[in-house]
Point group: C2
Amino acid sequence: MANETFLRACRRQPAEYTPVWLMRQAGRYMKEYMAIRERHTFLEMCKTPELACEVTLQPVKAFDLDAAIIFADILLPLEGMGIKLEFAKNEGPQIGNPVRTRKDIDAIRIINPDEDVPYLLKAIGMVKAELDGRVPLIGFSGAPFTLASYIIEGEGSRNYIHTKSLMYGDGGAWKAFMEKIADVITVYLKAQIAAGAQAVQLFDSWVGCLGPDDYREFALPYTKRVIDGIKNTVPVINFSTNTGTYLDVIGKAGGDVIGVDWRVRLDEAWKTVGHDTAIQGNLDPVVLFAPRQEIRRRVKELLGMAGGRPGHIFNLGHGIIVGTPVDNVKALVDSVHEFSRR
Amino acid sequence: MANETFLRACRRQPAEYTPVWLMRQAGRYMKEYMAIRERHTFLEMCKTPELACEVTLQPVKAFDLDAAIIFADILLPLEGMGIKLEFAKNEGPQIGNPVRTRKDIDAIRIINPDEDVPYLLKAIGMVKAELDGRVPLIGFSGAPFTLASYIIEGEGSRNYIHTKSLMYGDGGAWKAFMEKIADVITVYLKAQIAAGAQAVQLFDSWVGCLGPDDYREFALPYTKRVIDGIKNTVPVINFSTNTGTYLDVIGKAGGDVIGVDWRVRLDEAWKTVGHDTAIQGNLDPVVLFAPRQEIRRRVKELLGMAGGRPGHIFNLGHGIIVGTPVDNVKALVDSVHEFSRR
């Protein structure tokens, strides 16, 4: 690899500067992305390796990022599981047959990645060839709780009533469902790794609707099952949001790197997780709408909280927001390098 | 007062059992409420003292609650400030002229409650007469950050881009705006207290979009300004959500009672806030969709975390959700009393 800073940070090895990549770095804030998006649906982009490859590389070409992340959606494994997925125009994805009963759960299939997501594996291979070792490529999946709650609710949710009703009301069904989902995610990530992904991230964007005890009982065992299942392959980033009150429990699920949002100070988060684990984060994505000098000031402050300790991967606390000024993204990436260079 | 358990808990005095009330206890989950709502708009209900009074009393009559809370909306003070407020059918409130510039901020007026919210003050008087000392009546307001962000965004928001852009980009304008809002809230709460409210709650439902350092700089001074402004009148409940990672900072804003959501264990939250302050919370509202025995189990568990220490007010971690089974609300209230009776 020409640039090993990201992989070194995953392993808490010293690097010449703090590596940075940004969640949803390939996205609608870039005009290059929109030029493609205007001619194709989101799913078409995911399912056409040439397009997914091109879009994956756009931010790596535009900014001095230290990792690429494959362009995909956390819901791509659903079709192979027997779940009907639709992306309505200008709206989030909708599931035609949300899972609500034990019978629904029993009908779910474990995917075969070669048959069910061949386009993704092909896109990973193409990106790897194009990158030619310039920066590492990250694969990813939704974490078990986030994927399960999407499948149960059928769409974005405010209160997760169906999910928690199943969880609280039928513990056996919940366990069976989560074990299946964990197994799907495990084969899905293994296939991405076999295709060339050099690290993987689990996105648990919705798990913060659970309190600490519910997380421990209803989510942790299944995230752990996934992480244990891909042990000794590539570094794993365990990312979640709204879980800052129980990062100690999140850490118990595993992961070489714990990804945190901005609701917790990075120094405190790292202390809670333990310095024997790497940490990723955690600038508020809205800071990218602030004046340039404020962005630089906050980058410096955040790097100060990381204290120069090996094992910090700079990132936002959640994905880049549509409308983010591209020049500010460049300023962010460059200032991370400038201020952290040793 | 026939029932002083709530007020005693606010002051951390022993009571014969743990008092319980529920945020949004007057609401669409009750058929009595819907019978009125079907014939009137939400704003009509707020602005007609007879209706607001009736709706306030509905849950107190249906359940063995230890406090009433006046039926109102956190956005009621806006009209007097010169903000145009509309409740679109089946949608959240919309603001016609969201505040974005220093000029907008300068145009905001401090309200005169007697002229701007006479209906609310009249409703409080009517409720007090009807309750006749049965249980205390709680008044409330949005907290400065939550109110400010609503006025700036103009509607519900996902990322608070306009709010944070002003905050990060023009600190002077932010300060001027927040001081004005704090002064509005102070006179608004003072008027409710003068009209008969025996405790008040500040709802900071949106402030959890801020990290701890931003809360300290951009929200805390103004919440503190409000609480200091009504000191030595009635107990103040300082409630916020998604702030579990910095309850120590929240506590510094003041309040006789700190209200917390379910993302933090109650025992840990109380320890963080300090046992010299009362605590309110924090059952996940979705637990009310669970089987009866699971609700009872969790009530018992939560009371166990409070440890029988005077100063716990049982509540949900956020408002009751539409669709909540009424029988489960009754089971919750009764089991709090049953399990906590000393």
